[in-house]
């Protein structure tokens, strides 16, 4: 009788099943928490730090405008304003070379479509002078915008014991 012994098994490959399980869990986690493809038109800039503030859950009825110092010599009297309008990042000058009040027209349109709940989110640069922020606030008032939010960076409030 031949005794057939099983040849010695050599485990040359590690069991990757637990690794795949954990990695899949991580992928699902990051897919849920990541905000990919959701853009409000907010651009990278140095924002003011404030202690007070709240989060906005829905950006549905809002328009985010980035307000910066002017860069062009011929536009030194008005700020550089950009926003995502109709899925397109556009410059919205206070007054364009043709004399059109572009920002006012856009805000009026959004205000008309969004009603009283329409919110204008202003993202001013930290180093922006007030003389460039002031006209944006005036245009917002003239357009009938009732809700304005300043987008700022959160700082930790120091609690003294």
């Amino acid at each position: 009788m031949k005794s057939k012994g099983l040849p010695e098994a050599h485990a040359i490959h590690p069991n990757v099943t637990p690794l795949i399980d954990i990695v899949m869990c991580l992928i699902i986690f990051f897919m849920i928490v990541a905000k990919i493809g959701v853009t409000t038109g907010a651009e990278q800039m140095d924002l003011v730090e404030t202690k007070l503030g709240k989060r906005i859950e829905s950006f549905g009825n809002t328009l985010t405008v980035n307000v910066r110092r002017p860069i062009a010599a011929h536009l030194m009297d008005q700020p550089r304003i950009t926003a995502l309008v109709d899925r397109d990042s556009r410059e919205l000058p206070l007054i364009d070379p043709a004399g059109q009040r572009v920002l006012l027209d856009v805000l009026r349109r959004f205000r008309q479509e969004g009603g009283t709940e329409f919110t204008l989110i202003i993202r001013p640069e930290k180093e922006l002078e007030y003389r460039f922020l002031e006209p944006v606030l005036i245009v917002a008032r003239d357009a009938g915008v009732l809700k304005i939010q300043f987008n700022t960076k959160q700082i930790e409030r120091v609690v003294e014991r």
Partner: protein
């Protein structure tokens, strides 16, 4: 003499998992790089519209009494001076503490916080950093109606 060689036993080691692990790792790294956890940004609400001389100097909300004016100047680029009740502050925390005292005094004489309109009047060259920090201090002090006026 040929030795009888045992029939090679082939153990099915399963599908090759290496490419799957590679692709999964790439996807994971992609999601880690592109995703964000919401960042550290938040939003500060402004309910009082800006007041300008052409608008009659009145806020859009039926201001009842004289507004509480905060004049904001910037002697140097990185400093600001906020003047309230003829007192000057260059520190937002000190300003907040003083505004709290002012509010308590006002409430003690029967004024309601919703009737008090704080108006911040920055200079033309005051940085937004200072403007919003003073605005923040006014809100933290307990005022609910804080607005801006035209630059001086």
């Amino acid at each position: 003499m040929k030795l009888a060689v045992g029939k090679k036993v082939h153990y099915d080691s399963g599908p090759n998992m290496t490419p799957l692990v590679d692709i999964v790792m790439v996807i994971l790294i992609f999601l880690m790089m592109t995703g964000s956890f919401g960042g550290a940004e938040h939003f500060v609400e402004n309910r009082a519209p800006i007041t300008t001389p052409t608008a009659g100097g009145a806020g859009g909300g039926g201001m009842v009494d004289e507004p509480l004016d905060i004049r904001l100047d910037a002697p140097t680029g990185d400093r600001f001076i906020a003047t309230v009740d003829r007192r000057q502050f260059s520190d937002p925390d000190a300003l907040e503490a003083h505004l709290k005292t002012v509010l308590e005094r006002m409430q003690a004489i029967g004024r309601k916080v919703e009737d008090i309109h704080v108006v911040i009047g920055p200079g033309r060259n005051v940085k937004t950093d200072a403007v919003l920090r003073v605005y923040d201090a006014a809100l933290l002090a307990g005022f609910t109606k804080v607005g801006f006026k035209a630059a001086h």
